[in-house]
């Protein structure tokens, strides 16, 4: 059912574009306007192309990319210091339909589909010396915990915002907020050497996996600067 719902925005776009092609081409051709856009927001920085078909409808094709890497040593968690090497990477391509219901307002409703690839990962290593009794355990014997959650695939998107995809003037600005409806993530929990029991425990409990499975909605905030061609 969810997969079918994901197809709806596509069908909507296709239907709309197809409708333009079937009869009103001569009237709307002069209204067709194109723009390129630069977007940035919670899913990173990206570029896109927009084309308006009517005063109310336009289509955007855009992509964005985000890569955040953070390494922090000696993060105190409970009683232990942990070195954390975390990475968040997101890359998505999407086709969005902007519907601007009011002629005098740039308020818009946005819908579309996105191929989204979002992966969060972290490597955790006990910081500093690990001791057992008076024995100092060499770092290479301690091991590490590798965790990652990977949301990849087609996601539907819905949002609201302000700003036309193809601005009335040469330059325009836009803002929108919405969210992606994701599948359950692919979760990996891999622990090595002395930390291996954590992997065994997670396999038994699925505690983290179950928690992450709740995250099927990815909120998004995006700004864009549009340049009319």
């Amino acid at each position: 059912m969810k997969n079918k719902l994901l197809l709806l925005p596509f069908l909507f776009i296709l239907f709309t574009v197809n409708a333009q092609d079937n009869g009103k081409i001569s009237e709307t051709k002069k209204d067709q306007k194109n723009a390129i856009l630069l977007n940035f927001g919670s899913l990173g920085l990206g570029l896109g192309y927009a084309r308006s078909f009517t005063d109310h409808l336009s289509v955007r094709v855009q992509g964005s990319y985000l890569n955040i890497h953070q390494k922090r040593d000696g993060v105190k968690l409970n009683d232990r210091l942990i070195d954390v090497d975390a990475n968040f990477k997101s890359m998505n391509y999407e086709a969005l339909l902007d519907y601007t219901p009011f002629k005098k307002s740039s308020f818009k409703l946005v819908s579309g589909v996105s191929h989204i690839s979002t992966k969060g990962s972290a490597i955790l290593i006990p910081a500093g010396e690990v001791k057992y009794g008076d024995i100092v355990i060499p770092k290479d014997k301690v091991g590490e915990i590798n965790t990652s959650a990977d949301w990849a695939g087609i996601a539907s998107y819905a949002g609201i915002g302000f700003g036309r995809a193809v601005p009335k003037h040469k330059l325009g600005f836009g803002f929108e907020m919405g969210g992606y409806f994701l599948k359950k993530p692919n979760f990996i929990f891999d622990a090595t050497k002395m930390l291996t029991p954590n992997e065994e425990q997670e396999k038994e409990s699925h505690e983290i996996q179950n928690w992450l499975n709740k995250f099927t909605f990815l909120p998004s905030i995006m700004f864009h600067i549009n340049y009319k061609l």
Partner: protein, 541 residues
């Protein structure tokens, strides 16, 4: 083992995209995976009884010394440098930073036990790459209850003066003639002066003891340092590794005012060792006869080194018995031995085939020298272990200079499972031992256990041993945590009977916990709240 909270999937938080109040506070468990090499040392008294319940708990709380060039690399199971016997056992842990650069690289320490009423023992413990868990049995000689073939003689009549030396001739005989074993006689001459290990003169009442060990049967279980020593000092000053075949040995100890006598001045102690009736000369593959050569060795107690003193001649006594006599100006163990330099392989591996034996059975595995018609044997190594179909047993420093018999005794069911004789050198080629004894099927009982320290689940570290007994009975090995099964928390066993009540003793390091459990059904879930002491031992780091 240590627990701590982490925030799983930190990246999710870093991005700040999600908010969720139900984030699990997952425990991170740090196991003892660094415990890759553990030596399980069991202390026993009389080795002649192969049945279970032999652990010598009289030695509990005795602190042993760990010496030798690799001593710094060995810790107790708690990661400390205090080595105390507990429950008749001691576990030694090889430092995790140690690397086995080559397959043949080994690390050896000497374990020295000195306890009141027992003969001092020095036993080498060797860590090798392929044996994660070495089972070592240290047979202790309790002077008050000596096994057959070992005899003690004492004398307290002498007195030593700085100026005039010993006031009388002392002659002591530790006789094993009743068992046709080795008899040792010493004669300490009049006027001999005595010094301690530092060369200081000693004076006062002299206590002398001689303990004579027969070489046959289990006598060599008490052989100082074991029959396959390293670092043996030869006459030319070089050292060698190899294998002894003993013709008898003796411990000669003297003390004055509580100090050990080490050397003599102004005379030598005469030692006469009469061979057993069943002696065997590996060089001729026959019994010794008058005129044969027999090397005389002494043992340095502190560093565990054998030294070739001289080559003795076998002589016939008036009664026809054979003996070797010599004189010494120092005291130690003395040994009449054939030594095969390099007569051993580093590691022999034997696979056990036992159709249908799908659960571990407590067994005693013994290796012995023997020879045709196999009525005589000489104990090389013995230890308790658990076997089932497919178990691979490994034999460190397996000798190649004699046929070797391997015996496996089923402790659980009190029966001999198999004896197999390997021809000279064949054990080192590996192979299999087929056990044809029927598998005694008993009702299987499963125990799914969970050790808890507060709210933390404990994975017992490698080396943890669990013993069990029917209430009032003898302790037997129940479960041992290997490197491979360290995360299993379900034990399926045929050792327990439904409806029966058992005592279980868990040893982790020097800490132990006793719990009495009635096995109410075939499948049991047992949650054990561990004692503070045990938790402290486990929750290190």
């Amino acid at each position: 083992m240590k627990k701590l909270f982490i925030i799983p999937i930190l990246t999710v938080l870093l991005t700040g995209f999600f908010t969720n109040c139900d984030m699990p506070k997952t425990d991170v468990i740090v196991s003892q995976d660094f415990m890759t090499h553990v030596a399980q040392v069991s202390f026993v008294n009389d080795v002649s009884n192969v049945a279970a319940g032999k652990l010598n708990t009289d030695l509990d709380n005795t602190t042993v010394k760990i010496t030798g060039p690799d001593a710094a690399k060995v810790w107790n199971i708690e990661g400390k440098k205090v080595f105390t016997i507990q429950g008749g056992t001691l576990q030694l842990l090889l430092d995790p930073s140690v690397e086995f650069i080559t397959d043949s690289k080994t690390y050896t320490v000497n374990l020295i036990v000195e306890a009141t009423g027992y003969l001092k023992r020095n036993v080498p413990i060797t860590f090798v790459k392929d044996i994660n868990n070495a089972f070592v049995e240290v047979a202790m000689v309790k002077k008050a209850t000596l096994p057959a073939g070992i005899r003690l003689a004492t004398d307290t009549s002498g007195n030593v003066s700085d100026l005039t030396g010993l006031n009388k001739v002392i002659n002591i005989v530790a006789s094993n003639t009743l068992t046709n074993g080795v008899t040792t006689e010493i004669t300490v001459p009049l006027g001999v002066k005595m010094r301690d290990a530092d060369g200081n003169p000693l004076s006062g009442a002299l206590n002398t003891e001689v303990i004579s060990f027969s070489e046959g049967n289990d006598g060599t279980a008490y052989f100082p340092g074991g029959l396959t020593p390293d670092n043996v000092k030869m006459l030319d000053g070089t050292t060698a590794s190899g294998a002894f075949v003993s013709a008898g040995f003796a411990a000669i100890n003297m003390t004055i005012g509580g100090k050990n006598v080490r050397t003599f001045e102004g005379g030598k102690v005469a030692v006469k060792m009469t061979l057993s009736k069943t002696n065997f000369n590996p060089e001729t593959s026959q019994a010794y006869k008058a005129g044969d050569n027999l090397d005389i060795w002494s043992y340095e107690d502190d560093n565990g080194q054998w030294k070739l003193e001289s080559t003795g001649k076998v002589k016939a006594d008036t009664d026809g018995s054979l003996y070797v006599s010599f004189e010494t100006s120092h005291l130690s163990y003395f040994n009449l031995d054939y030594f095969g330099s390099s007569s051993r392989c580093d590691l022999a591996k034997i696979k056990l085939k036992w159709n249908g034996a799908t659960t571990p059975v407590n067994c005693r595995l013994t290796t012995r020298y023997t020879y045709y018609p196999y009525t005589w044997y000489q104990s090389i190594h013995s230890s308790e272990t658990q076997i089932q179909d497919g178990t691979e047993e490994m034999f460190l420093n397996a000798p190649t200079n004699m046929p070797i018999e391997i015996e496996i005794f089923d402790i659980d069911n009190n029966r001999l499972l198999v004896k197999k004789i390997f021809a000279k050198g064949d054990l080192c080629k590996g192979g299999t031992i087929d056990i044809t004894a029927p598998v005694i099927k008993k009702q299987l009982v499963s125990l799914t256990y969970k050790g808890m320290c507060s709210n933390t689940i404990i994975y017992p570290p490698v080396g943890t041993r669990v013993y069990y007994r029917e209430v009032g009975g003898a302790w037997k090995l129940f479960h041992y945590v290997y490197y491979a099964n360290r995360f299993d928390n379900k034990i399926v066993t045929d050792k327990l009977k439904v409806g029966q009540t058992y005592d279980f003793m868990v040893f982790a390091g020097n800490k132990s916990q006793l719990r009495t459990i009635t096995i109410a059904k075939a499948d049991n879930n047992i949650e054990v709240t561990l004692s503070d002491a045990l938790c402290k031992a486990l929750l290190k780091g």
